[in-house]
Every structure is written in structure tokens, then in C-alpha cells.
Amino acid sequence: MWHWLLTTGLLQTILAYLATAGFGVLLNIPRRAVNLSGWVGAAGWLTYEALYQVLPTTIDVKLAIGNLVAAIVIGVASGLAAHYKHMPMIIFNIPSLVPLVPGGQSYRVVRNLVTGHPEIANQYLAQVVIIAGVIAIGFLVAEFINRMTWHLAQSLKQL
């Protein structure tokens, strides 16, 4: 595990940072947010990759749990970043999702349908549905955690 973290894990983190920052530029996020959103994306992707390595189950379950936890990490980190930079959360969580979202799979569904491989298309369609649903649930959970933290901070202030 440590060996994986220091070789592949480190490389994947750097790749995800660059990809998120690059996608941030494509979505025209404010310049002072590019660096931070890159790190949020890197944290999410590292979580996903590490879980994918550790979990001893089938691919679909790995995808579901990995994306769920990664979405929660991204949601909470975006909440913190948004609070710190006084910007809406959407600026950090939309670019950060880019390594996770099922864009590649959705393209593969259509391509396999067109080229006459409906059974492969079905597999990818199942992945699209699982990933998109799980990310949405992850964001709901992250929203809940963010609100709880905020309430906790408010009540600590009053003490």
C-alpha cells in the first residue's frame, strides 16, 4: 500500500491536479480559484484510486463505493474551499468531478451501440447509471456534513 501510494498514487494525484485545473480553465472559473480547485480534484481522485486498490470486490461495487467516498471528499473539500475563498461551491466541485464523472463511459455506450456490440454497451450503461447516481448521493451526504459542521461551529461560538 505505501509503495503504491508513493509511486502510482503520487503520479495519479499530479495527473488529476493538472486535469482538474485544465478543466477549470475550460469552464472559465475565476483565475484565483484554478489552483485550489486543482487540489480538490486531486484529493477526490486519490481517494477513488486508493479505494479501488484496497477494496476486494467486483468492479461495479468498487466503482460505486469509490465514487461515493470520492464525491463526499470533493463535496466537503469544496465547501471548505468555498468558505475560504468566498466563492460559490460550484466553482470547486464541478471541475473536480471531471476525473470521476461517467463521460468516457457514456461515449462508449453510444459507440458500442453504433458499431454493433449491444452487450458491451449495456455494461457501460450500467456503469454510467451507477456512477452518476452515486456521485449525486455523495454530494447530498457532503452537503449534510457541511451543514452539521456549520451548526457545530455556530454553537461553539455561542458557548
Binding site: I91, L97, V98, G104, S106
Partner: protein, 250 residues
């Protein structure tokens, strides 16, 4: 109490900018409701669909509608509307200044120059190809970079010149497939067309749109969520067809 007509127009404009530039329905409704409440109309009703917004003020028997025809992604504008709405809530600006500033947001907002966008498309394509597939031979890296840049550039210009959304995605994807095909005939081995295409289409694919569709549906927007999903499916079809046209020649 401020003038209801100006308030309704300002609320609608703020909502329209948010909706046209990638915000979720719940965020649009929340922002519009806050603006109306801060201007002294807490009873205001806001109804947001993906294709149009309605705001009505029950106290004055008045309502206004605004249709939304184009949707894209420009998070700088979302940030600006958010900042203005916050300033209005803190009473740093009044309603007239708010309306002026909003009209300005829709026209002039800082954007990255075209060369930066193409460079960003290159970075996104190459890094995601390596992250997803692990293939990184020199031929893969070079072709993926070229295809990613060309595909995004074609998408960008067709979108700007013709304003036909799905056509631009189709042309971009076709170009990516074509460049990958040329690379396939120029190189002997150590070449992975599938990996290259997956990386190069990443700047175009509607992954965020699919996720937003599910999120909108989950927050109870049972009309707008599925509508977004249909938009995303059409883009995926355009991209898949564009690539499939060239994959016959392998």
C-alpha cells in the same frame, strides 16, 4: 418597498445568467428568492424550469416570465452573480446599481484567451488518458495531445460561428477520430487508438451534465432533471457517432 417592476426584472436576469451558465435549479431558485426577500418581498414566488423562469409578487398582482434558450458553462459569471447578490444582501449596493452591474456581467466578463483554452484541452486530454488507461507511449501522448487540441478547437469555433450545439460536438469528435486514424496508419506498433480517443474526447463529453441531471432530479425538479438528461444523451450520441464514423477503417 422598492419598485416591483425593476425588482422582477433584476431577479429574472440574475436567475437567467445562473441558469445559462451551469448552475443547478436549486441554486437558481435560492438566489432569486434571496434577492426578492432582500428587496422587501419575502412572499415572492419563483418557478424555475430548465427552459424558462417565472417570478411573481403576490402583493402587487404582478409576474414576469423569461425564456432560456441557450445553456453553457461559464463559472466566472456564476461567481459574479453570487458576489453581487451577496453585496445586495449586505446593502452595499441598492437595486439600481445591482441591475446595472448584472447587465454588465452578461456582456463583459474576464475570459481566458483561446490559446489558453486549447492548451487546457491538451492538458485535460493527455493527463486523463494516462490516468484512465495507463498507456503512455510517445506516439500515444503526441496523437492524444494533437487530437484533443484539434477536437476542442473545432468544437469551440463551430459553436461560436453556427450556434448549433450538437453539430459542434459531432464535428469535434469526428476530427478526433480522424486524427487518431491517421496516427494509426503512420505508426507501426505501441499505439492504442482506444486510449487516445478516450483521452481526447474528455474536454467534450457530457459527464458533468449527466451528474447534474441526477442531482436536479434528486432535489425534486422532476421536469428539469430529465430534460438535462436528454440534453446530455444527445451530446453523447453526437460524440459517439462522430467517432464511430471513423472507426470503420481500422
Amino acid at each position: 418597498m422598492t419598485e416591483p417592476k425593476l425588482l422582477m426584472q433584476t431577479t429574472l436576469l440574475a436567475g437567467a445568467i445562473l441558469l445559462e451558465n451551469g448552475a443547478e435549479i436549486a441554486r437558481v431558485e435560492d438566489t432569486m428568492h434571496r434577492i426578492a426577500a432582500n428587496a422587501g418581498y419575502p412572499e415572492a414566488q419563483v418557478f424555475v424550469l430548465l427552459t424558462g423562469i417565472t417570478v411573481s409578487l403576490p402583493e402587487t398582482d404582478a409576474s414576469q416570465v423569461r425564456a432560456i434558450h441557450q445553456r453553457g458553462m461559464d463559472l466566472e459569471k456564476v461567481d459574479q452573480v453570487n458576489t453581487l447578490s451577496r453585496q445586495f444582501a449586505n446593502q452595499e449596493i441598492d437595486l439600481n446599481q445591482f441591475a446595472d452591474a448584472l447587465a454588465h456581467v452578461n456582456q463583459a466578463v474576464p475570459t481566458f484567451p483561446f490559446s489558453w483554452l486549447v492548451l487546457a484541452a491538451l492538458v485535460v486530454s493527455v493527463t486523463l488518458m494516462v490516468a484512465f488507461t495507463g498507456h503512455a507511449t510517445p506516439a500515444d501522448l503526441i496523437t492524444c495531445g494533437l487530437a484533443g487540441m484539434a477536437g476542442f478547437a473545432a468544437y469551440y469555433w463551430v459553436n461560436r460561428l453556427a450556434h448549433i450545439r450538437f453539430l459542434s460536438e459531432f464535428v469535434g469528435a469526428f476530427l478526433i477520430g480522424f486524427i487518431t486514424l491517421i496516427g494509426f496508419y503512420l505508426t507501426k506498433n505501441n499505439y492504442h487508438p482506444d486510449a487516445i480517443i478516450i483521452g481526447a474526447v474528455m474536454p467534450l463529453v457530457p459527464g458533468v451534465a449527466i451528474t447534474n441531471a441526477v442531482r436536479d432530479t434528486m432535489t425534486g425538479n422532476l421536469l428539469s432533471g430529465p430534460a438535462r438528461a436528454i440534453e446530455a444523451i444527445l451530446s453523447a450520441c453526437a460524440i459517439g457517432l462522430g467517432i464511430a464514423l471513423t472507426s470503420i477503417f481500422y
